[in-house]
């Protein structure tokens, strides 16, 4: 069990700063996802932990010991690559044995460990197959097994599910999650898929331009995004720009917007008169015939412009008085029709303020 500390990590490639003064502490047995669009520095961060990238500044520590100058082969890490990187000239068994041979593990223990890990990834019986004789999902599990059989201090996963088809990908999320919990290994998981990150992680690191923009569990990241960037990247959002009109409680604000006054929450301390943006998730909004008369609930008038049906939800795009569009997700049986006059109704608790 290892604590992983990243401190002030910086890496430049020519003019581009891939990772910019990134610090992060990952607890024993924790699974942390690095989530962000391509080019945000998540892969560079992972490769720095693995030792394939030498950082320009900062340090990587395992259990408080600085390993920044260690070669990859001396770090005792397990890494799963996007394309699995199984050795094509070796059978499954030989692939698994590779890391153990490098560690000069005895024959008997080798066989035991390989047997155990193959049971865990449910691949027993395929020991003598070559990688090309396996399906994508099986190859994926061999790659996992190969990185786990050496009992590494840290497990690093670089977009491991990208090359699988959608159905298998969802299955593997749970598989990797339960496997990681069972083994109890400190894990860093790189992905650009928010759903994957939310399902699999203890905590999510949202990265943009080489910096951490938000750090928290799935609920925090989704419900309380800190910036427009984060809210926009994770799920769908409505943004309504305005000014702080009043603070009515510790975390309660009234914001004056072109669509009227909106009640919302924020952990930020915002002085009255400050510009602010209200974030509301489409599924937090209900479409009603009448405005709500509850003082803590917001109601915005509009007209339905589009309706679409996705089976599990009905989506609406509602045009408001000032021409702005609010996206709404309703129950699939909700029956507002195009060009209906409606009220977008949402509780102040479900609206969230971010800085502009």
């Amino acid at each position: 069990m290892t604590t992983l500390t990243i401190s002030g990590l910086t890496k430049r490639f020519g003019e581009v700063t891939a990772v910019d003064d990134l610090s992060l502490e990952i607890a024993e047995g924790e699974l942390v996802s690095l989530l962000g669009p391509s080019g945000c520095g998540k892969t560079t961060t992972l490769r720095s932990i693995a030792g394939f990238v030498q950082p320009d500044a900062g340090a990587i520590l395992f259990d408080g010991i600085d390993i920044t100058s260690f070669a990859p082969e001396r770090r005792n890490i397990g890494m799963v690559f996007q394309n699995y990187a199984l050795f094509p000239h070796m059978t499954v068994r030989e692939n698994l044995r590779f890391g153990l041979e490098m560690r000069r593990i005895g024959r008997k223990e080798m066989a035991e460990r390989i047997g155990k890990v193959l049971d865990i990834v449910q691949l027993a019986g395929l020991e003598d197959r070559y990688p090309r004789q396996l399906s994508g999902g099986q190859q994926q599990r061999v790659a996992l097994a190969r990185s786990l059989v050496i009992e590494p201090r840290v497990l690093l996963l670089d977009e491991p599910l990208t090359n699988l088809d959608a159905k298998l990908r969802e299955e593997m999320r749970f598989f990797i999650r339960s496997l990681q919990k069972r083994v109890g290994i400190t894990t860093v998981y790189v992905t650009h898929d928010q759903a994957e990150a939310m399902v699999i992680s203890d905590r999510i690191v949202v990265m943009f331009n080489g910096r951490i923009r938000q750090l928290g569990d799935a609920t925090e990241i989704y419900s309380h995004p800190v910036s427009r960037e984060v809210a926009d990247f994770i799920g769908l959002s409505n943004f309504i720009d305005g000014r702080v009109k009043a603070r009515t409680g510790d975390d309660r604000y009234a914001v004056e917007t072109p669509l009227g006054e909106i009640w919302c929450r924020s952990v930020l301390t915002l002085p009255v008169g400050n510009p602010a943006t209200v974030v509301v998730r489409p599924e937090s909004i209900e479409l009603k015939r009448e405005p709500s008369n509850d003082g803590n609930v917001n109601s915005i008038a509009g007209r339905v412009r589009d309706r679409f049906y996705l089976g599990n939800i009905a989506g609406y795009r509602v045009v408001c008085a000032d021409g702005s569009v609010i996206q709404v997700q309703e129950e699939p049986w909700h029956a507002s029709a195009v060009s209906d006059q409606v009220w977008c109704v949402f509780a102040g608790d479900l609206a969230w303020i971010i800085r502009q």
């Binding site: 693995a50 030792g51 394939f52 070669a71 990859p72 082969e73 001396r74 770090r75 005792n76 890490i77 397990g78 890494m79 690559f81 996007q82 394309n83 990187a85 199984l86 050795f87 094509p88 000239h89 070796m90 059978t91 590779f98 890391g99 490098m102 560690r103 070559y130 190969r146 990185s147 050496i150 690093l156």
Partner: protein, 308 residues
């Protein structure tokens, strides 16, 4: 419209018409085969026919007054395969081929690896550098080496002036000089196949091996080299075959001081005028070379079992 005469023809002579029809269909389907006819004719006239002629020649009776005497014999082969002198030259030729191949592989592999993995701007220039020996004619290239390696050449004059080796070094007219000349020109034939096979190895495999605890050396030995065996195999076969049949370079840089089959065969044909015996020796060299290549393919094939 065009169907009408067709049908008439069928009525007139159904069987002949059918045959012609079948031939026409076959031709139309296999028209593309016509494209290889020029090549076949060319190879037939200038490769197969001369070889057959040589093969027949190698079974002719020797003669002192003409090219060959009437009648056929296997004595030419008998003599070549029992005389220790010729067997010795054959062994030396094969050995020379193997050593040159090994040197080319050893020198060429790191170059190929570097070129396959580099992201340098000068990559194109490196390619030109590797191909440069092939851009100069063989005679010119050899005279270049002679200027460097001769007893009063640049290197010897240099070391004598520096007082390092007062008697100079024997750099030419021996296996060393010939080896240098051959390695120089055959290196590209080793590097290019290895280069392409290394390029097809996913760099992530090397990282995976490293992450599993393998040092750079182990990564090379366990992952990169095994996966580039097809390239090593192809390059080795090329260099070996070219070496054991090389004539100009051994003549110019070895001047008959180094006994190998091609120079011996030419000597027998041109100087001694023993055409049947020379032809037999040539075929023995070709067969021996083929045998070595066959064994090499079998051995390396076993090592590449998982690759295909």
């Amino acid at each position: 419209m065009t169907v009408e005469p067709h049908r008439l023809a069928l009525q007139r002579a159904p069987a002949a018409r059918e045959t012609r029809h079948r031939v026409a269909t076959w031709l139309r389907a296999n028209m593309v085969l016509l494209l290889i006819v020029p090549t076949l004719v060319f190879l037939g006239c200038f490769l197969v026919a001369p070889y057959l002629n040589m093969l027949v020649m190698s079974f002719r009776n020797p003669s002192t007054t003409s090219v060959f005497a009437p009648g056929y014999t296997v004595a030419n082969y008998g003599k070549a395969l029992t005389d220790p002198y010729y067997l010795g030259v054959l062994a030396q030729t094969i050995e020379f081929g193997i050593v040159t191949t090994a040197i080319c592989a050893t020198i060429g592999y790191p170059v190929a690896y570097h070129l396959a993995r580099t992201r340098s701007r000068f990559k194109g220039l490196l390619y030109v550098g590797i191909l440069s020996p092939l851009l100069v004619g063989v005679v010119v290239r050899c005279y270049g080496w002679i200027i460097l390696l001769a007893n009063n050449g640049l290197i010897n004059n240099g070391v004598k002036k520096l007082g390092l080796f007062p008697h100079g070094l024997m750099l030419m007219y021996n296996a060393f000089g010939v080896g240098v000349g051959l390695v120089h020109v055959f290196l590209p034939f080793m590097i290019l196949p290895i280069l392409s096979s290394i390029q097809s190895i996913d760099p992530a495999l090397e990282e995976a091996a490293q992450s599993l605890g393998a040092s750079r050396t182990r990564v090379m030995l366990r992952v990169v080299i095994p996966l580039s065996l097809p390239g090593i195999q192809a390059g080795s076969i090329l260099v070996f075959v070219l070496t054991i049949s090389a004539y100009v370079i051994p003549i110019l840089l070895g001047a008959l001081k180094i006994k190998i089959m091609p120079t011996l065969v030419i000597q027998l044909l041109i100087d001694a005028f023993l055409w049947p015996f020379g032809a037999a020796l040539a075929f023995i060299l070709a067969a021996s070379g083929a045998a070595v290549v066959y064994i090499f393919i079998r051995v390396t094939g076993r090592l590449m079992k998982g690759l295909t």
